[in-house]
């Protein structure tokens, strides 16, 4: 991890940038912002950790917990909302046994992410499975896919 972090800091020093670009680089590399990364940057750049956490918690893009191996992204935009995204999300939460603020399954296999709008409103409701679009979809269809992914993992 330290080597990657070093590279990110070097890039920042060379090309200029700011806390946001630094954290974006970190998240690209690790999928989240590890505690160690903030400590490292803080030490290297002499910027208080609170400044990093201030930015990281302000923007929806950043996460402080590791991301699951498979990412399910449910769109909650207006078009998806009127086409029943609520039902899809509650169905997926039941399947993945997620409750409250928790967005990742205990085994670290799946993360369910809710996003404001993906901009593919003509195909509402929309869910991304590992980044690829499932349009006019339903909770059942996505659950089926989740189970298939699980089965594949177990084989």
């Amino acid at each position: 991890m330290e080597k990657t972090l070093k590279e990110i800091v070097d890039g920042y020093r060379k090309k200029g940038g700011n806390i946001i670009t630094l954290l974006q680089g970190t998240q690209d590399a690790f999928g989240y912002i590890p505690r160690e990364a903030v400590a490292f940057f803080s030490e290297e750049l002499n910027i208080a950790p609170s400044r990093f956490y201030g930015v990281a918690t302000f923007y929806a893009q950043f996460r402080l917990k590791p991301i699951g191996r498979h990412k399910i992204t449910a769109c909650c935009g207006t078009a998806c909302h009127v086409k029943g995204s609520d039902k899809i999300i509650s169905g997926l939460k039941r399947e993945l046994q997620l409750s409250g603020e928790n967005d990742t399954t205990g085994d670290g296999e799946f993360t369910l992410e809710e996003v404001a709008c993906l901009g593919t409103c003509s195909f509402a409701p929309v869910v991304l499975v590992n980044g690829s679009v499932r349009g006019k979809t339903s909770s059942d269809a996505v659950v089926k896919e989740i189970r298939a992914l699980r089965k594949k993992e177990n084989e």
């Binding site: 940038g17 946001i20 923007y59 935009g77 078009a79 003509s122």
Partner: protein, 592 residues
């Protein structure tokens, strides 16, 4: 007449979602496999293009051959081979896959300015844009116009900011020009955060060069030497295509030092947003580019006087900038010939929701809602009846079906209690609950409130609590009046546009659908049967065939019954998810 055959595959947001990439790849593979018919291959090329508009029928494919254009709809990779064999080699279009009348109706009332090259030019090829006349406006402006000429031209065109507020663009540039300072910035706001709006994404993905060209002209007009595009990280393809476009433009000498052979230096840098709706607000956006938490600050000073790094900064929206090259090319009177007295030109809308033909449309300002919904959009899906049209997203409001003949322009929509906004247009039908919609938008703004000022931070929270209570059947007498009073306070006292407009969906929905709010509060009923907590599900014995579909679908184990015998729902166990209702083929599940 050219004998070259060109195949254009829609790779807009919709086209890609429907598998446009696979279709394009299959065309390319298919064409090279059939290399034996050399004449076909040599004269035939397939291109990706941006959004063609009618996303509902994606993947859309256009075949241009022998001077004629043929458009196919709903194309999947396995249909490609037949098109190549029968149409491209054989000259006989595949009749059953062609678009129908609804397709031409979709385009008939549209006027394309910003979108005129979207769906026609390959967004990854600068030569395609140049061949369509691209960068000519910038060249002419920089070499033979004065900045004053440009500002006057844009002022005369009547163009107003397309990001939502509708501030006159020419005036903004004039203020930027007049502002004292050696270093000035121009920023393109591509932080399209409105849920239900995707026109900026479609413009950047479909024709990124038009945005760059608009920025070059704007920079010259105000005297900026550096530009930024602040774009959502959620739009990776738009970012990629914009990056490529900027590289290509720099290679041609359109960006960098001494651009177009003049003494002007101008560069554009991309800054990725990190997912905060409030960063659409100008001062918050500036804070975010500077690497801080994106929190707005009081105005004045306005960004044109003190913006990015305390320097004069002009911020324009994507669609606004993409209009500029076309206005310079065709003249301000041409542009002003479209639209109404105070709202000139055209506007791009993302038409979605319960509409038969959802997609991206560009219409002259002043067109009626009726024309948009029934002529362009083809009417309401599943023959339901129209209830309202939501415009302006979380800052806007709804227009009820009774006001369908309303003109769509800045002033008419404002009078009706909504706004043009960035251009989301969501069609709602009889099955949509207006209390739930108000709650949806307030939930959104509450989550996105930056927390800096109390009226917005606490006010939206209280609004959401009251709305949540009402949708749960726990509404109290006086709640509606409380919502109105609280909304007025939040509007008046919030620091920035987010808070000032956050109560709009609540006020507008109460204004036109007060009865529905009353039904929730007084009768504890949701007339549209949306609010879960107020619903009860019941199986009608006489229709139930005992197929067991609902029993298997029920996640709570609330349904029991023997095979081929009517089933029953245990209300104590029912979580009101509606799975049984959705799955029943005999309409035997009733909700009320």
């Amino acid at each position: 007449m050219s004998n070259t055959t060109v195949i254009r595959v829609c790779m807009g947001p919709g086209g890609i979602a429907a598998g446009g990439k696979e279709v394009l790849d299959t065309f390319e593979k298919c064409l090279s496999e059939k290399n034996i018919e050399a004449s076909v291959r040599e004269n035939c090329s397939s291109h990706q293009v941006g959004c063609m508009g009618l996303c509902a029928r994606d993947v859309l494919v256009e075949v241009h051959a022998n001077g004629a254009k043929t458009t196919y709809q709903y194309i999947k990779p396995d249909m490609v081979e037949r098109i190549v064999t029968e149409h491209i080699s054989g000259g006989r279009p595949v009749a059953e896959w062609l678009v129908d009348d609804a397709f031409s109706a979709f385009y008939k009332k549209q006027v394309k300015v910003v979108l005129s090259d979207v769906g026609k030019v390959d967004p990854e090829d600068i030569d395609a844009y140049i061949a369509a006349g691209g960068y000519e406006s910038a060249r002419e402006a920089l070499t033979s116009w004065t900045p004053r000429d440009i500002i006057d031209e844009i002022k005369s065109s009547g163009l107003r900011g397309r990001g939502g507020a509708g501030f006159p663009t020419g005036l903004k540039w004039e203020l930027g020009r007049a502002s004292a300072g050696d270093t000035k910035y121009i920023i393109c706001n591509a932080d399209e955060g409105d849920p239900g709006a995707f026109m900026d994404r479609a413009v950047i993905e479909g024709n990124p060069h038009s945005v760059a060209e608009g920025m070059i002209i704007g920079a010259y007009a105000i005297g900026a030497s550096k530009g930024y595009v602040y774009i959502r990280a959620e739009y990776p393809l738009a970012v990629e295509r914009l990056k490529l476009a900027l590289h290509q433009a720099a290679d041609r000498g359109f960006l960098g030092t001494g651009i177009f052979g003049t003494a002007m230096d101008f560069d554009i840098e991309i800054k990725l947003g990190a997912g905060a709706f409030v960063c659409g607000e100008e001062t918050a956006l500036i804070a975010s580019i500077e690497g801080q938490r994106g929190m707005p600050r009081p105005k004045p000073p306005f960004p044109v006087n003190r913006g990015l790094w305390q320097r004069p900064t002009v911020i324009n929206n994507v669609e606004t900038l993409a209009n500029i090259p076309y206005i310079i090319r065709n003249g301000c009177s041409w542009y002003a010939s479209y639209g109404t007295e105070r709202s000139k030109g055209t506007k791009v809308f993302a038409l979605t929701g319960k509409i038969r033909n959802p997609g991206l449309i560009e219409v002259p300002m002043g067109i009626t809602l009726r024309e948009i919904i029934y002529e362009i959009g083809g009417g309401i899906e599943n023959d339901k009846s129209l209830k309202a049209v939501q415009t302006g997203g979380p800052s806007g409001g709804c227009i009820p079906a009774s006001m369908l003949d309303l003109n769509v322009d800045y002033d008419s929509l404002a009078r009706a209690g909504s706004i043009v906004g960035s251009g989301g247009m969501i069609v709602l039908d009889e099955d949509d609950c207006m209390v739930n919609m108000a709650k949806y938008f307030v939930h959104f703004t509450q989550t996105e409130s930056c927390g800096k000022c109390v009226p917005c931070r606490v006010g939206t929270k209280r609004l959401l609590e009251i709305l949540t209570r009402i949708t749960r059947g726990e509404g109290k007498t006086g709640d509606i009046e409380l919502l109105e009073r609280l909304s007025a306070g939040v509007k008046a006292a919030s620091l920035c546009g987010l808070g000032q407009t956050a109560p709009n969906p609540v006020l507008s929905n109460i204004r036109y659908f007060r009865d529905e709010f009353v039904a929730h509060v007084r009768d504890k009923k949701c007339p549209a049967k949306v609010c879960r907590e107020m619903l009860t599900y019941r199986i009608l014995e006489k229709f139930c065939k005992g197929c067991g579909a609902c029993l298997r679908a029920c996640p709570g184990g609330a349904i029991t019954g023997a095979k081929k015998k009517p089933h029953v729902i245990d209300p104590g166990k029912c979580i009101r998810c509606g799975a049984c209702f959705d799955v029943c083929r005999f309409k035997s599940v009733e909700k009320e």
